[in-house]
Symmetry: C2
Subunit: 225 residues, 2 copies
């Protein structure tokens, strides 16, 4: 999908809107008007509407019939919930990946670990977050389960902004890479049990780090507001 999206107006609008919502560039509840968006992107309402309908299905906006579309992005609680959900699913994914991974996928996974260390040493945080994503996406793909891949991929993207923040915490960046390395090794050794255990723990650690570096405060603030 990602790639197809670049070659159609609808795809471009969808990707940009999605990113802007996930990264919080819109206010919660903000109204999205089709004409305005169309003008902004230099397209007609048709592709805008198709993009909006997709975002509605995904739950990133809420559409009221004959009224309008309202931003309904990722709250701090959503992020926490997603970490909890992922902590139950990433282990399953690692198990299945161990059973189904191809040689080519294994190589890509190991390269991702290698490259993240490379960028870590140079403090390229954006690049690191990107490769961190890649590691997980490869594992999702390797699971051989279309449905598991779909849900984990979505959730992983939803916490992108938080992850990018967390990875900049120096010690977490290093620890995360080390955890990835161990997971990759377990998968390579065909030790499904260990891969599952490590993956679940990996997510719980990431959640703990997010809580300790801003997420907890965000939760408090949103609970009041």
């Amino acid at each position: 999908m990602e790639e197809n999206d670049r070659y159609s107006l609808r795809g471009r609008v969808f990707s940009k809107l999605r990113e802007d919502i996930i990264t919080g560039r819109y206010e919660q509840g903000e109204e999205l008007k089709e004409s305005a968006l169309g003008e902004e992107y230099g397209v007609s309402r048709t592709p805008v509407r198709e993009a909006l309908r997709q975002l509605e299905l995904e739950g990133l906006i809420r559409m009221v019939p004959n009224k309008g579309a309202y931003v309904d992005g990722i709250s701090a609680k959503d992020v926490l919930d997603i970490y909890e959900i992922r902590s139950r699913l990433e282990g399953l994914c690692a198990r299945w990946a161990t059973e189904h991974i191809t040689h080519e996928q294994m190589e890509r996974m190991e390269e991702a670990v290698y490259m993240s260390e490379f960028h870590y040493r140079r403090s390229h945080f954006d690049k690191m977050a990107e490769i961190d994503s890649e590691f997980h996406e490869i594992m999702y793909e390797a699971s051989g389960s279309k449905k598991l891949q779909h849900v984990l991929s979505d959730f992983h993207q939803y916490v992108y902004s938080v992850r990018k923040m967390s990875v900049q915490v120096h010690t977490r960046g290093k620890t995360s890479i080390e955890e990835h390395r161990q997971i990759a090794q377990a998968i390579k050794n065909k030790d499904a049990q260990l891969a599952e255990q490590l993956s679940n723990k990996h997510i719980l650690n990431a959640m703990q780090n997010a809580l300790d570096n801003g997420l907890r405060e965000m939760l408090q603030k949103q609970k009041k507001g």
Copy 2:
């Protein structure tokens, strides 16, 4: 969403198409032409396209740019994967529901148990399946987690056809109701631990029943094809 959908052409097309794909009324890989669908439903291409874009995002169809839309429904393996995924999430959901359920939701849940027994005794299998859905949907809603509700609700719908089949197996129908009753009781008693444990087991039992009543054969058949 469900209700809004009834009042717009796009919504009606979406719901009907979705149901037809989930229940397997289309061939795998079958091409869906916008004009043909429009004629079938007596509408123009516009609402059809919006519906197709939503189904694409959901992964129920695959769209090739400038070519067409192809059915990519729920395979037997998808169903099995979904049971595995749900077995890891329903427990979490039951735990959260125990913590967040309202009095009104609890009453609806108990009524669902009661009603399913009523219809069970009268062998109203369709009605039973419907109320079985209701039980789970109430729990998803009661979890208080928008994201968990979303994913579990989708997955639950995906296995609808299988569930309807399974529930007709006399002994499973009775067992399932009993399990629901115990889960509801645990939630009411605020015993999150027990609710979680029972819910996870409930899904595993449902999976086992599905395997023993047709799913295993479907898996074999699809593996060859």
